[in-house]
């Protein structure tokens, strides 16, 4: 038994990566200071600063072309900024050593707009890719099981695991993308317009899913969105991007007190009022239900 044990241990150690980072216990998993991004003559970000608190859902809003996606791409290392400092889990990501970079990469999950699933792999295999990449020592059987429960956890029907992305609808692809983003139980989750292109019911369900997962897993979520319902329903704080900077960060009531024309128009427009109303109605209903249960 113990000889077997040693053999197994050796085999596992052989396959495993040697170093793994500890969980982050600082206050700000993401810190950005003095960020500058340009494309040719066009300045997207100039002296942009932002801190994301641990365990919050931060909504990022801004008009089209204000560089929300560019900001996300800068943080996750797909866009190299012209100047500034980006710290993820306290480590500078710009010009980091490849080893350090991959250690950070194993602790975040990214959901791209269209899901960005690998089209030649099934949904389950998609979820297994990061597991195989970062933890090759895991038993294939465990990997399959993880993939399957992650798929179900994101609200997909169980038979979806064996399907190819081209056989799924747009909303299902997003959920499958989320399952892949969550494969490693990351501490940090990036969502790029998760509810864009979903029907209102699907979008509300996705919001609830995000909120639930964040509660259960203790995630920090960086969420880019245009969806006012999402902002009202699940975001703890909202960061507003305009003129190449984060002009304000705070809860929606805090933002409403500010006197910036874009913020006023954004949160006081007809669509925003509708979102508020529907949220209030939803909350009222939930209260009715819980009240009825108690009685």
């Amino acid at each position: 038994m113990s000889a077997d044990d040693d053999e197994l241990r050796e085999e596992v150690l052989d396959e495993a990566r040697s170093d793994v980072v500890e969980a982050f216990d600082g206050r700000y998993p993401i810190e950005i200071a003095g960020l500058k991004n340009t494309f040719g003559d066009q300045v997207v970000h100039e002296d942009l600063s932002l801190k994301v608190e641990r365990g919050e859902i931060l909504g990022v809003v801004g008009g089209s072309g204000t560089g929300k996606s560019v900001l996300m791409r800068s943080i996750i290392g797909l866009q190299i900024p012209d100047a500034g400092e980006i710290r993820v889990f306290g480590k500078n990501t710009i010009g980091a050593e490849p080893d350090e970079e991959s250690a950070v990469r194993s602790r975040w999950g990214v959901l791209f707009q269209g899901g960005a699933l690998f089209s030649t792999l099934t949904v389950a295999e998609n979820v297994e890719v990061p597991l195989k990449q970062f933890y090759p020592e895991l038993d294939p059987q465990l990997r399959h099981e993880i993939a399957r429960y992650k798929v179900i956890m994101t609200g997909l029907p169980e038979e979806a695991a064996a399907k190819y992305p081209s056989e799924l609808s747009g909303g299902m692809r997003k959920r499958a993308g989320l399952a892949r983003a969550l494969a490693l139980d990351p501490e940090l989750l990036f969502l790029d317009e998760p509810t864009a292109g979903l029907d209102p019911i699907g979008a509300a369900a996705f919001d609830e899913l995000t909120r639930n997962l964040q509660n259960t897993l203790g995630l920090t979520v960086f969420l880019i969105t245009h969806d006012l319902d999402t902002l009202y329903a699940i975001c703890d704080r909202v960061a507003v991007l305009a003129d190449g900077q984060v002009i304000a960060v705070g809860t929606i009531p805090e933002l409403l007190k500010l006197d910036h024309p874009w913020i006023q128009e954004y949160f006081n427009g007809p669509r925003s009022r509708a979102a508020q109303v529907s949220l209030a109605r939803g909350a009222g209903k939930a209260m009715d239900k819980s009240g009825g249960g108690k009685a």
Binding site: V12, S119, A161, P165
Partner: protein, 369 residues
């Protein structure tokens, strides 16, 4: 250094308790999971009180083991309890791989499908040719719909920008024919026939054939990839809803451009190949450059030029049709674009060579040997 999760077994009063130690995280679970899978003795309790941090993967491992042995989980922290409850809800026995037939059946089924696909392909290809001819007919009846701009653009892409590469290729081929031909003919003292060999081969066969292959690689593949991508992005569907026929707007200009450009490119290729042969003959065989060119006029019958010029537009048609047809067949995902592009080139070149063999027999039979 990595810390690994592990376990010990404690027996008390005929009850076995598996006591877990260390953090139960994705980064630490690898070894524990494998050991638990090999643990087949009965277990009544799983004790988590000694375990450290936990994530869903740790929770899954614990729950799966407990479920398998019908054991009770004790000593779970609040977080562990929450995570175990979450993964329990997500448990399932659904297959995680698409169903596959046994090997023998799969091979046979694969062959059968290939045959059916081939048959359909032939029918569809002919159908596509018909659709193109109908579109051409419609354009002839409504000359205003003629896509002049697209056609000129394709002239440039298919014809003008192909000149350098086709020129270089033909020049080198001319050199090879003359040089290798001379080496063989020298054995009979018939070196002078190098001129006949180079001239007739270039004009009759190689100029057009090599050009067709080059055009299949350059333009046939481009057609398939362009149309395939447009199909994926629903551009072609958008055209249809606006009332523009994609065959008229996209396929006809490409096919016309290929049909009209191929004779020009083929003739150009033959001329450059002859020049290549003349250069090497001047340098190594002692036949002066201008003498070589003057002899060409005497030894190459005019019908050789006609043979080349008649074949060229047919080859152009085949290559362009294969490219456009494969492009229009794309559906589903981006992998298809690559697959169809490859098929367009392979199909185009294959059909060109088959037809070339038919042409060779045909022209010889009618006396143009």
């Amino acid at each position: 250094m990595r810390e690994w999760a592990d376990f010990t077994v404690q027996e008390a009063g005929g009850r076995a308790t598996v006591v877990l130690q260390g953090p139960l995280l994705v980064s630490t679970i690898g070894l524990l999971d494998r050991k638990l899978r090999e643990h087949t003795d009965p277990v009544q309790h799983v004790d988590l009180s000694g375990a450290g941090e936990i994530d869903t993967i740790g929770a899954w491992t614990v729950w799966r083991f407990a479920d398998e042995h019908n054991a009770r989980i004790t000593g779970a922290s609040e977080q562990a309890g929450k995570l175990i409850a979450t993964v329990r809800e997500s448990a399932s026995t659904a297959p995680y791989e698409p169903e596959r037939l046994p090997l023998a059946e799969r091979v046979l089924a694969g062959r059968g499908e290939a045959v059916i696909r081939f048959g359909r392909n032939v029918v569809n290809f002919v159908g596509f040719l018909g659709a193109t001819l109908i579109a051409l007919g419609a354009i002839v009846r409504h000359p205003r719909r003629f896509p002049y701009r697209a056609l000129v653009r394709q002239f440039e892409l298919v014809g003008v920008s192909a000149l350098p590469i086709i020129g270089l290729m033909s020049f080198l081929i001319g050199i090879v024919i003359a040089q290798q031909g001379a080496a063989q003919l020298r054995q009979f003292g018939a070196e002078i026939y190098t001129i006949n060999l180079t001239g007739r081969l270039a004009l009759r066969e190689l100029g057009v054939l090599m050009t067709a292959i080059m055009v299949a690689g350059r333009s046939g593949s481009a057609f398939a990839a362009q149309l395939g991508t447009m199909k994926l992005t629903e551009e072609i569907d958008a055209m249809r809803t606006i009332g523009v026929s994609p065959i008229e707007a996209l396929v006809v200009p490409r096919i016309l451009a290929n049909v009209l450009m191929m004779p020009l490119l083929g003739f150009f290729s033959a001329v450059i190949a002859i020049i290549g042969g003349a250069v090497i003959a001047d340098l190594t065989l002692g036949i002066p450059f201008l003498t070589f060119l003057a002899r060409i006029k005497e030894v190459v019958p005019l019908y050789d030029v006609w043979v080349g010029l008649i074949k060229a537009p047919v080859f152009g048609l085949i290559v362009a049709l294969a490219g456009c047809y494969q492009g229009m067949q794309v559906k589903g995902d981006s992998e298809q674009v690559g697959l169809r592009t490859t098929m367009a080139v392979v199909q185009g070149i294959f059909m060109v060579i088959v037809l070339d063999a038919f042409f060779a027999v045909f022209f010889t039979e009618i006396g143009w040997a």
